[in-house]
Symmetry: C2
Subunit: 438 residues, 2 copies
Amino acid sequence: MGDLSGYREDAVRFLNQAGASIGDVLEVQTDWGTVTGTLVPRYAYGVGDYIVLKLKSGYNVGLSLSGLKSAKVKEKGEKPSFTAPLPPKPAKGLPRVLILGTGGTIASRIDYKTGAVHPAVSSAELHSLVPELSEIARVEPEIMFDILSENITPKHWTKLAQRVKKAVDDGVDGVVITHGTDTLGYTAAALSFALAGVPIPVILVGAQRSSDRPSSDAPLNLLASTYVAGRAEFSGVYVAMHLGEDDDKVVFHRGNRVRKNHTSRRDAFVSVGVPFAAVWGRSGLEFVGEGLPKRGGPFKPRVRFDEGVALLKFYPSMAGSLVAAAKKGGAKALIVEGTGLGHVDKEVMQELRAFVKGGRLVFMTSQCIEGRVDLNVYATGRDLLEAGVIPLEDMLSETALVKAMWALGNSTSIDKAKELIISDITGETTTRTFPEKK
Amino acid sequence: MGDLSGYREDAVRFLNQAGASIGDVLEVQTDWGTVTGTLVPRYAYGVGDYIVLKLKSGYNVGLSLSGLKSAKVKEKGEKPSFTAPLPPKPAKGLPRVLILGTGGTIASRIDYKTGAVHPAVSSAELHSLVPELSEIARVEPEIMFDILSENITPKHWTKLAQRVKKAVDDGVDGVVITHGTDTLGYTAAALSFALAGVPIPVILVGAQRSSDRPSSDAPLNLLASTYVAGRAEFSGVYVAMHLGEDDDKVVFHRGNRVRKNHTSRRDAFVSVGVPFAAVWGRSGLEFVGEGLPKRGGPFKPRVRFDEGVALLKFYPSMAGSLVAAAKKGGAKALIVEGTGLGHVDKEVMQELRAFVKGGRLVFMTSQCIEGRVDLNVYATGRDLLEAGVIPLEDMLSETALVKAMWALGNSTSIDKAKELIISDITGETTTRTFPEKK
């Protein structure tokens, strides 16, 4: 049987009946007519019951199996070759950049002949995706996981942090982590705490458009990330994504002040409450923010996470029993996304009061996203303070969640964890160093 | 005993000891020195254990009871008068606007002598707060509730909808609802469904700065809301708040496409996925969007809500047991804020599958806020579809929550409720009528 990379189940059966392999030109009978095109491999995370043909026009068309009658091979194609030319041996003196793959849209490469997408793993493949890489750094690619980012857990955060620590010890100049965008912000926040004080840049990078589209943002994001990881004078954990819809600038967001705010745009990520950390254009860094930590310095990562933290968003007539359920589910700490300055209704307040008893922690953030919680303005806020709820200034709720997991994972007691959570570890709340956007 | 409006418990005891009344000049001994000033009434929703003095400089100072030693009355003041001059009898032919008070920062007036804040209830008081009101409409103020908006429930939504229906029957030209900003967006969405097809404008209006500050946004927001309620050619449910930080323009957001996105700014509210409905400047309406419904037409409100809906925001390592807890708490429908295009991890997916069994409903929205969910791009989305999860396009999760409560409250079966939820009732998802922002 031929190569049917990326196809699954019914699609494989359908294609095998026709004796088709990737690269063959197929003539397919559908409910609505005949389609002729070259069979291309499927994107690894794609939906299963489609086959994809590259038409003569260059466009790919996805055909749902349910509408297909039959297929025949019109022309045997060459098996597409993924052997890209080897990159030139990088010049001595270039910075060393470790590129860790975790999965997601970014970690893929396009075959320009078939439009197919495969994980980009080897140095040669990265080179064919972004030839300029070898001019700016000696890249060392390594696949750590290959999973959709909604399935990333705190255990993965720990492994990533440990791997970065090893890279630092090995003298790597910077690390790039390719990651699905869904939970990119959570992982970035997690690493910002686990790797607080890291002496090199650690850049998490994603893509919103898969590499099988001409509009893919993957190459530019990778290029900018590698540049900054290898050459920037600052250190710390950042998220790199497109600055706008144009394919010319990449922005670096602080790892714990960033949020995916759009489901599909290439500039989906935004910095919340702080200016960008840096902006990269095709000629290099065009803007570098104030107050970023310099490279170097001592570094003692704290890489553990405790999953016993829950996050609840408050809403009108929310059942207070959800708070009790979080406790029953093992939560030692609870992050509440309150309304406005950080409020909940009376029923939920009672439940938070009960949750706090027994030494558990409740922290208040706001579902407004922008701005600072303040429990001193209205009576509800004061009652929350009296109930033991701790306001978290202008910390994002997602950052608060991850920080609580980290603090609990690296503390010997709840009280010590609480102290960590309300301390500024690495710019996650606004201090003098990170001026607040008006 | 003297008038101590707005003070509570310990503050009342402390002031009674000194024989003080509002308006008296007090000399107060504190831990750190002596303060002299005029005792002003307290804002009704303020924190309890403070007393507030207006200093000679005009500034108010709040003194925490815990730091106070004693007080004595230096000078008996006049009791401040809240009798404002009566508004001129409105000219015949002005539109009739009903102003319904529910509480919150907006529903308050300032006494310029003492800086005190009281609920604005009477026609005379509204006139003293915004004298121009009587030039643009015959306003008919009515207090329905006086509660902080985090305590507003679906039962209040029903009462508001019924009251608006009565106003329509009575021939009122427009309704303004003053409301705390915390849950203003939820109430607006609720009324947009309950009052779908309403033949007059219904404007929900709030304020971010209480009227005891010179920077209060309450007067301008009230003025613009009354103008639009009485005079705009369009109908429907809208939220009116400042367009920017400057005190000169008020923007009207569609009631089910609006979100409080900042905890404290005067322009905290944003339209999501659609352009503004209208913008008001001091000389009238400066912009009116396309596709707004005209005044008039048949109107049959459906005013019931069923509280058996829960909202859960997904996050890494979320305990699947929260889904089961929502079911146990009586939820017939669940709104999930997934990551990215609408994803959750495998554990939560299993729980959603179980929730759906037995005829319950699960709807997917995105925590990204902007953009559209799409369960057809990645394998996770397809698995969710197979599990029975229903994607809600670009509907805000808050709107989805409220819409599900409304649909369940006005349907004879779960299936009919589901049909309502996935139908476009009044522009809550993007259709041709409401062009999507790029």
